[in-house]
Structures are given as structure tokens and as C-alpha cells.
Amino acid sequence: MAETAKTKKSIIPKKHSMPTQDAGERIKNFNEVALGYAVETAVTEAERCIQCKKSPCLAGCPVEVDIPAFIKLMAEKDFAGAIKKIKEKNALPAICGRVCPQESQCEMYCTLGKKHEPVAIGRLERFCADWELEHGVTLPEVASSNELKVAIVGSGPAGLTCAADLAKLGYQVTVFEALHVPGGVLMYGIPEFRLPKKVVQTEIDNVRKLGVDIQVDSVVGKLATVDELLNEGFQAVFIGTGAGLPYFMNIPGENLCGVYSANEFLTRVNLMKAYLFPEYDTPIRIGRKVAVVGGGNVAMDSARTALRLGAEESWIVYRRSKEEMPARIEEVEHAEEEGVKFAFLTSPTQIFGNEQGWVERMECLRYELGEPDESGRRRPVPISGSEYIMEVDTVVMAIGQGPNPLVPRTTTGLAVTKKGNIVADLKTGATSKSGVYAGGDIVTGAATVILAMGAGRVAANAIHQYLTAKNT
């Protein structure tokens, strides 16, 4: 390696590791696990970027952040310039830097990654965003108002991105949020220890400062329908209502006390702050032994939350093997470090309760992997007669979420799929209804924060084109 004479200095083969709270300590609190790079680490990590000509990383970013440019500025210690560069494309960098699956996006394409570990793009993005939060935020330029009103339904990552982009273009944007705080899944779903709610609210305040009006406690479909919004002077509507419908397995015993949907479990803890009960009013009941069914990020979040709430054992029960788990590797590693246990190739068939209706145990069936299915992952096949009993007193179902039906059901002329997702052109977000756009999980089914943001960006551009054409 020393012979690669032309490089000015030898390449550091590995990413700088992220400082974290010690696992034994952090399961006793809800504070953020990943602590962020120090200045020197950030600069030397930025220097790992070889500024290659092709910049393949760009293709891996759903919101098209100019990655090499911001990293170059970081290497020059121009953090203000770097965050400005990021924010040209990304309205929520402190969030993306924390929860984006960079390993399957930008970092997957990194040239350095062919021989070594890729540049830690996500960690660098987070550093810049945190640096700005600490040093004072400079707002991007906002075009003068064009007096055109656009309504955004849902204030999750899709809605916020769409709102910020349209506001920058001069639109009067109103965001309607059903819950009492904006942020959607960023507030109710992703735990404090992975995404501090203060960070989310600061990012949302920055969106507000662009002139976006966010109305909480406003359930579109109940308070006013999308049709009514269009009749009340909104020229276009963007629907980003997310995957707010929990799936259950439809197995016996699922309505026993102590069985939660992951949505309920996480909402109680994150949004309602049940971990601070009784100072906060919303309670949660956590047992000694918790089983979380599922293998995605939501399942990891639930299992790690259970430990922090005081569970003695927290199990992930997943019907495929570790390789097929959809959760981010980093999240799985964090869960393992914290002592979460894994029952792979296992799925519950029945939950049993005591006389008062509380969960006592769960019957599980073992699986083996067969041929790949349509998702390309090997299909789990049940092993007959392999039933066994798992003693648990809390079960969290984290097997996915469907589209919340409130808005689709109350909007006329809006085409939806069999599963209830809104049909929208992925290149524009346009739906079957004129002036109505949609994006994020309500269209794609449960996916990632950054894909929802990408969809919000795409729709904002399309809405801008539509309204420009309509009003000239």
C-alpha cells in the first residue's frame, strides 16, 4: 500500500469510529447513543475523501446533496460553508445525519469504499448540522411571496421537506398535523436515544422560519377534507400522511393486555414521554421479559426501548435469519451491545394470557430458509412440529405498518392501491386528482426518512411547475 506513491499521504483505511455512550450505561437512560465527532475527527474524516472525479456517491442520495463539495469545505474547516452547501438540498440535515441508512445509499457508492471503508458521509453531515445548531442557524434565501397557497397534510419528513422547498420558492405553505406536535414519525416513532426530540424540533423551527405555518391538532379528513382545502383557496395539496396503521399478525391472543403494536409502544414512550411517568401523565406497562416480533429498525427501536424501560430480557423474534433482517447493521449492532437477544427463524403462532387477560407466554414455531421469494430474500418455511413456548409478559408487534386510511377514504377521485396506498407518479408525486400530490410512506409503504424526504422534494418541484403553468 505504501507504494501508491502519487497520493500525498497514505489513506486511512477505516472510518473514524463514532464515539458512543457505553452500552452498560446507556441502557439506563434515554440519552443519545451516538455522541458525534469532535472537530479534529470530523476534519480528518473529511480528508479521507479523495474528491474523485466521478463522485458516484451523488447517485446514492435521494435528495441530491452535493456530497464531495460539502466534504471539501469541511476538510478546509469551513463548517459554515459546508452546512450551507448541504442545506441547498436537505432541509433536515441533523435528522438525516442520524437516521439515514447511508451504508445502502451514498456510502455504498463511495470510491474509497471499493478498497477500504467508505467515507463516513452520514457522520460528517451530522457534524455539520450539529455545528450549525450550536453556532446559530443561517436561513437559506426565501423568494418573495407569490401569494399562492399550498396545503401539506402531515408534518413528517415528506411533508416538512415539501413545505420547506415550496416556502423557499415563495409559496404560502400551511402544514396540517393530526398530532399535538409536528414531526410525524420523527417524533412518535424514532426513539430519543437515536434521534433527540430537541434536534427534531430545532429543525422544524428552521422550517417555520422559512414562513411555513404549521397547524397541529388538525386531522385532515375529519376537520376539513382535501376537497374542502382545494375549495378554500389552496391551489395544491401534498399528502404525506405516512404509514400510520399498525399491522397485527391475526394470531390468537393478540388483544391480550401486554400486547402492543410497535406504533403504540413507541408513541407512548417517544411522543408522550411515558419513560418519564408519573411526571408525565401517559403510562406504559413493561414486563420482565419482552418479545418484539419483527426484524426492522422499528423492531430494534422497540427492543432497545424495552431495556431502557427496565425489562430484564428483551428479545427480537424474527422469522428469517440475521442476514435477511431489514434493520440497519448499526442498529442491530447497538442492540446486540446493549444485550438484546435474538430468536431467529422463529415466529409466534399464539399468545396465552392469565385470567386477568395479561400475557403469560407465547407459542412459537421454528422456520428454515427455502428458495428466494419475490423480495429476493430466502423464504422462511415453517418446520412442522417445532412449536415451543417462550415465557414472556410483554409482546410488541413490529411487523410493519400500512397506509393510514383517513385521508384516502375522505378524498374524492383519489386512486389507491389494494393495500390502500395512494397511487402517485414517483417522478412527480402527481396523483389521479388534479392539484393533489402525494409522497412518502403513504405512497410507497413503510420505507425510510430520506426516501420520504426525496418524495417531498420531487413533489415540491412538480407542484411549482404545475402552479407556474396554471398561473401564467
Binding site: 406504533n263 408522550m272 401523565d281 406497562r285
Partner: protein, 281 residues
């Protein structure tokens, strides 16, 4: 913020409040509910709408002080502000001209029955109202109900007012008197055991019975599934599929168990806050 316009003390533990919420008042229908949150640390409290005034832009709620949050709400006065007030949630009551209808309100359930009885009467039904409470002190809205029912029967469990007996006793008498085939629909709202008994009786007569369920909830928009209940063997979400269901299909035993999930926690919260505010409450 949502202003409390008026407060009435209906009994030492039952309070009535009119809340300024013009958008909710404009859009709500009988049978729907609201969720309110008192302050930053507060829980989301679901309450069925007891009355609404579209011109004034106000919603009336009636609640019984049963835990930390409702006791706290009960201490608030006209002019105070509630942090969050969201609605209208859930599906409206199905209102059509059925013919002879019995509307039953038990205890604090008298309040949500009122707007439904009014809507049923307005569309041409012959509504017989039955309201009951454990004792005279807990009975309210007699005149208000009388005004929207063709006839109104009143009963108290202990006989301290009008007559002694449960609402189901009165209901049975009316069914026997009018004949079961002459009653198209029964609507019952009240404590779960009352609704369960009503349904057990009407099932034998074969009279369709609607109940409004008050299960535990968090978001109230179908997002969490906390409120799930088995109806006809299928799991339904009270917040978006209800709150009204065919009472003969509701699994009341499961509902009762799920409703008791946080009883201990509620006591804990109550005691914690009682200690903190020097024993007042």
C-alpha cells in the same frame, strides 16, 4: 390553546365545560369524540362530544373525575386554556328514520346520548329516552334530554329519585309494553357493565342495539391500535371504526380487561401528584 367558555358543576365529580373550538364545532356530528390534552406533560384524553354550537363555535364536554387528568381538568375554570383539543374524531352516529328508538344514558353516558337522541328526533324518530344514575346526585341533564325525546324515563339505582331500578329494568318494561317488534333500535351509552347488560337483554328480544365504546386510546386516528376491540370476532379500532358498534357483537369481556390495563398506573400517578401538590384534591 382552547379557552374554557363556561363550566358547570353537575355533581361533585361530574363537570360540564364548554370549550371554544370553532373548527371542531363546524365539522362535528353527533356520536363523534374529541381528544384533549391539558398541558405539555399531559396525556391525551378522549371524550365523546356532549353538545355543540356551530354559531358560537363551541363544543360541550361532560366528564367524571376518575383519575389524575380528569381531576385536574375538573379544577380548571371558565377563562382557563386547554393546550390541545383535537377532533372531530371517529365516525358519526348513523342517523336515519328508524321509527321507534330507545336511547339509554347511564351515569356520565347521559351526555353523549343527548346529541344522538336530538338528531334521531329531528329526523322523525319517536325517541324514548331512559336516563339513570347510581343516585340522585349523579343524575344530570334531565330537562335537556326531555326536550329532545318524545318521552323520558328516569331511574336511580338506589331509588333516591323518581324510582328505584337500573336502566335495564326500565328498558325491559318499555319493550314489554310496546312489544319488541315495535322497537327498531336501541342506543345505549354508559359504563361498560351497563352496556353489556343492556346488550344481553336486547339480544334475547332480538332488538338491534348500538353502543358507544370508551376504550383506552392514544392518538385517536388509527395509528396505534391501543383501542382495539373484538367485534363479531374481528379486531376493530374504536377510534376510526367506531366509537359506535353493534353491541351484540362486541366482546365486552375483552374490552373490560383491556380497559383495566393502567388502573395501577393511574393510582400511582394520582398519588404522585397528590403528594406533590400538598395533599390537595
Amino acid at each position: 390553546m382552547f379557552k374554557i367558555l363556561e363550566k358547570k358543576v353537575l355533581s361533585p365529580v361530574i363537570k360540564q365545560m364548554e370549550i371554544e373550538a370553532p373548527r371542531v364545532a363546524k365539522n362535528c356530528q353527533a356520536g363523534q369524540f374529541v381528544i384533549l390534552r391539558l398541558h405539555e406533560k399531559g396525556e391525551r384524553i378522549p371524550l365523546t362530544i356532549a353538545d355543540f354550537d356551530r354559531n358560537k363555535g363551541a363544543i360541550t364536554i361532560v366528564f367524571q373525575e376518575v383519575g389524575k387528568s380528569t381531576i385536574e381538568l375538573g379544577k380548571m375554570e371558565a377563562g382557563n386554556q386547554i393546550l390541545d383539543f383535537v377532533g372531530p374524531l371517529g365516525l358519526p352516529s348513523h342517523i336515519e328514520n328508524f321509527g321507534n328508538v330507545i336511547c339509554i344514558g347511564g351515569g356520565v353516558g347521559i351526555a353523549p346520548v343527548f346529541p344522538i337522541a336530538r338528531a334521531l328526533t329531528n329526523i322523525g324518530n319517536n325517541v324514548t329516552g331512559i336516563i339513570g344514575a347510581r343516585t340522585k346526585e349523579l343524575l344530570f341533564w334531565e330537562e335537556k334530554m326531555r326536550a329532545v325525546c318524545g318521552e323520558l324515563m328516569v331511574t336511580t339505582d338506589d331509588g333516591s329519585y323518581v324510582r328505584k331500578g337500573f336502566v335495564t329494568d326500565v328498558m325491559k318494561e318499555i319493550i314489554e309494553d310496546k312489544g319488541k317488534d315495535n322497537i327498531a333500535l336501541i342506543l345505549a351509552i354508559g359504563p361498560q357493565p351497563m352496556m353489556r347488560v343492556v346488550c344481553n337483554v336486547t339480544r334475547e328480544y332480538g332488538i338491534k342495539t348500538i353502543v358507544s365504546l370508551n376504550s383506552l386510546m392514544v392518538d385517536g386516528t388509527g395509528m396505534c391500535g391501543c383501542c382495539r376491540v373484538k367485534v363479531g370476532g374481528q379486531t376493530k379500532f374504536v377510534c376510526v371504526d367506531g366509537p359506535e358498534f353493534d353491541g351484540h357483537l362486541v366482546d365486552f369481556a375483552e374490552l373490560a380487561k383491556r380497559s383495566a390495563i393502567y388502573l395501577e398506573k393511574e393510582k400511582e400517578a394520582h398519588n404522585y401528584h397528590k403528594c406533590k401538590c400538598g395533599g390537595a384534591s
